[in-house]
């Protein structure tokens, strides 16, 4: 039994569903609302099997009324329940952002800490399969920008389960963003590194702890979500050329583990941020700023480089999309270019 557990591999979708199910079994205040999360198990399979296990009272298919059920999550949380509310694609945030941005994120603060809103918003992010401008965005920087939302962006099944259980137990709003291209779906190609060993028992991973996915001495790649998997493949290529990249998986954006980033950059002296969100005003700029603020404590060997979507909506056509969303080769090329740079 214990050996069987040891080698058990789950896809990220299975790990998320399992984490939610275990918390629902433990805590009857937890319930899930969202479009197509019942019979269909969620478009991206994040609630697979839960309807059978918990029934329609706790696994609630909603109308296509994002403002309605996001607002309802806030109201139910204020009454002591612990809703998980699925926004099918993060791109649909536009429909319900008032509930999220002006209420969910701020009510605790505006109440002087008197009110708690333990809501988890789960949502699918990312492109790579030609779903075009309204179904391919990452947008985590939008959510991380407003104070009051914790933002979780896992890159693999093990982390996803631990972070999901942590999210459900948190008394604050948490936006849990899963990239479609690492969920291990049977109908979308995915990066296989995201399917990994997942313990059967419940466990948590604290927020604000980045993970060093790969040790290296030559440069630091700070990244998250599916880009972690791409960066690992890029690092393999680079290693064959004698360049040792250290990869930092941020895992959560809010809270952000600055120390791990700074420690690594202090060691390598070179920073590349690899991001699938838009370039400007986002994660890559934030990480660069954190390093810039510490230049009296650490020594860079080269200017910071940023790789992200070059401030264009995600285009539909394959060659356009492959250009706009950074791919493995682009990460490797940026790393090589960074190795050629010096400060003088």
């Amino acid at each position: 039994m214990s050996t069987a557990n040891k080698v058990r591999k789950l896809s990220m979708a299975e790990a998320i569903s399992e984490g939610i199910g275990q918390e629902m079994a433990r805590d009857e205040r937890v319930f899930v609302m969202g479009e197509d999360i019942g019979k269909y198990g969620g478009i991206f399979s994040a609630t697979t099997g839960l309807l059978d296990q918990f029934g329609p009272e706790r696994i609630m298919d909603t109308p296509i009324s994002e403002t309605g059920f996001m607002g309802a999550a806030i109201g139910a949380a204020a009454e002591g329940l612990r809703p998980i509310s699925e926004l099918m694609f993060v791109d649909f945030f536009g429909v319900c952002f008032d509930q999220i941005y002006n209420h969910l994120a701020k009510n605790t603060y505006m109440s002087g800490g008197a009110c708690k809103f333990p809501v988890v918003i789960t949502t699918g992010i990312g492109g790579g399969y030609n779903d075009a401008a309204q179904h391919s965005q990452c947008l985590y920087a939008m959510f991380a920008h407003v104070p009051g939302l914790k933002v979780v962006v896992p890159s693999n099944a093990y982390d996803a389960k631990g972070l999901m259980i942590q999210a459900i137990r948190d008394d604050n709003p948490v936006v849990f963003m899963y990239h479609k291209g690492i969920m291990g779906l049977s109908w979308m190609s995915y990066f296989e590194g995201s399917t990994n060993e997942v313990p059967a028992e419940p466990y948590t991973i604290p927020f604000g702890q980045a993970k060093v996915v790969r040790d290296g001495k030559d440069l630091t790649i700070v990244t998250l979500s599916q880009m972690v998997q791409k960066s690992v493949l890029a690092a393999d290529k680079l290693a064959a050329e004698g360049i040792e990249a250290e990869i930092i998986d941020l895992r959560t954006l809010v809270p952000l583990d600055k120390e791990t980033v700074l420690r690594s950059v202090a060691k390598t002296g070179r920073l590349l941020v690899a991001d699938e969100d838009y370039l400007s005003f986002g994660v890559s700029g934030e990480i660069a700023a954190i390093v810039a603020e510490q230049l009296n404590h650490l020594q860079l060997k080269a200017p910071v480089r940023r790789l992200a979507v070059p401030d264009v909506p995600i285009p539909f056509s394959r060659p356009l999309e492959q250009f706009a969303i950074p791919q493995v080769d682009a990460i490797a090329a940026e790393a090589r270019a960074l190795m050629q740079l010096t400060l003088d």
């Binding site: 019979k39 298919d61 429909v95 401008a133 401030d311």
Partner: protein, 336 residues
């Protein structure tokens, strides 16, 4: 208002064209997406093949598109949703440009940037969106513009019964009625929003009843029949052109295929689609035309072969046209 023979024939031909278009797409879409050519362990790969991404087809829903668009002129606006091909074809959107767009080609309507849910053809005032419920307010805007410009143009918003639960839909209805806008809201009730049955998403039987809450006529067309839609739409469009304000029309229609291609359709009875096909609106209209002496086997075969040639040529055009250069991704964020 009853359709003339010419209008009946137009609707019939357009429905045949739409069906041929959708059925061809269902086949082309599968190219390259199935094992063994895809990642090991996958049953299907949405991002593979010549037409990648999501694909929502409208086979079965043709009467809604043709019954309404039969009354429209080039200057009238149509705003569709994520399942847009039938409206586009009925509004005379450039078939070659639309097809190229779905192949992601440089000569597509959006130069490959938009794809199948985001078709824009300003020449015939057609647009659509992948965000459910987003179209209705925009149709109000087009109607408002017509009013401000002193034209008798109308605007049509097409959307599904699922979209009628979005706040945007309700705000649009109020706005249109308040400002007496020449807009026609057309709800396609195909009984499902992806996997969710209407009875599980909508508090009332008929969306047409919601019109009363906004002070506008609500018309229920309870059969998937082009002539019935034609009659309802004729009155609504005439009313809008006369400056008497909006109408909400609800059509009970049928979705023959999955929500999107590749949909396992586990949420509906296995033979449901097959049963729906027993009431094929194309067959029904064909029979009506035959009864009127407007159609016979020879004429039917001739028009079908012309239409088929046009549709197949559009697919060849899309398939054989060149892709945009990768760096073209950087163009058109802003207007020049």
């Amino acid at each position: 208002m009853d359709p003339t023979s010419e209008q009946l024939l137009w609707m019939y031909e357009k429905m045949v064209e739409i069906r041929e278009y959708e059925e061809t797409m269902a086949k082309v879409y599968l190219e390259g997406k199935l094992p063994p050519k895809i990642q090991k362990g996958l049953a299907f790969d949405i991002g593979a093949g010549p037409v990648p991404g999501e694909m929502h087809l409208a086979a079965g829903q043709e009467p809604v598109a043709v019954g309404v668009c039969a009354h429209l002129r080039r200057e009238d606006t149509v705003v569709g949703a994520h399942r847009p091909h039938h409206f586009a074809i009925a509004k005379d959107v450039d078939l070659l440009g639309m097809t190229s767009e779905m192949f992601g080609k440089a000569n597509g309507l959006g130069k490959g940037k938009g794809g199948h849910m985001h078709l824009f053809d300003p020449a015939v005032k057609f647009s659509c969106s992948g965000i459910v419920g987003a179209g209705a307010p925009q149709a109000c805007g087009a109607a408002l513009a017509a009013k401000k410009l002193g034209k008798d143009w109308v605007a049509v918003s097409f959307f599904g019964e699922g979209a009628a639960n979005q706040g945007a839909f309700h705000e649009a209805l109020n706005l249109a009625s308040l400002w007496k806008l020449p807009v026609i809201f057309v709800c396609e009730d195909n009984k499902y929003g992806i996997s969710v049955e209407k009875s599980a998403s909508t508090a009332i039987e008929s969306n047409a009843d919601r019109a009363a809450g906004y002070g506008m006529p609500g018309v229920l067309v309870d059969t998937n029949d082009a002539v019935a839609v034609f009659r309802a739409a004729g009155e609504a469009v005439a009313r809008a052109r006369r400056g008497e304000g909006p109408t909400l029309i609800e059509v009970k229609t049928d979705r023959y295929l999955g929500h999107f291609q590749g949909d396992p359709e586990t949420y509906r009875p296995k033979n449901e689609a097959q049963q729906l096909r027993q009431h094929d609106p194309i067959v029904i209209l064909g029979a009506q035309l035959r009864a009127r002496g407007e159609l016979d086997d020879a004429k039917d075969a001739a028009l079908r072969s012309t239409i088929s040639a046009r549709v197949q040529a559009a697919y060849e055009h899309g398939r054989n046209s060149p892709y945009p250069a990768p760096e073209d991704a950087l163009l058109h964020v802003f207007a020049d």
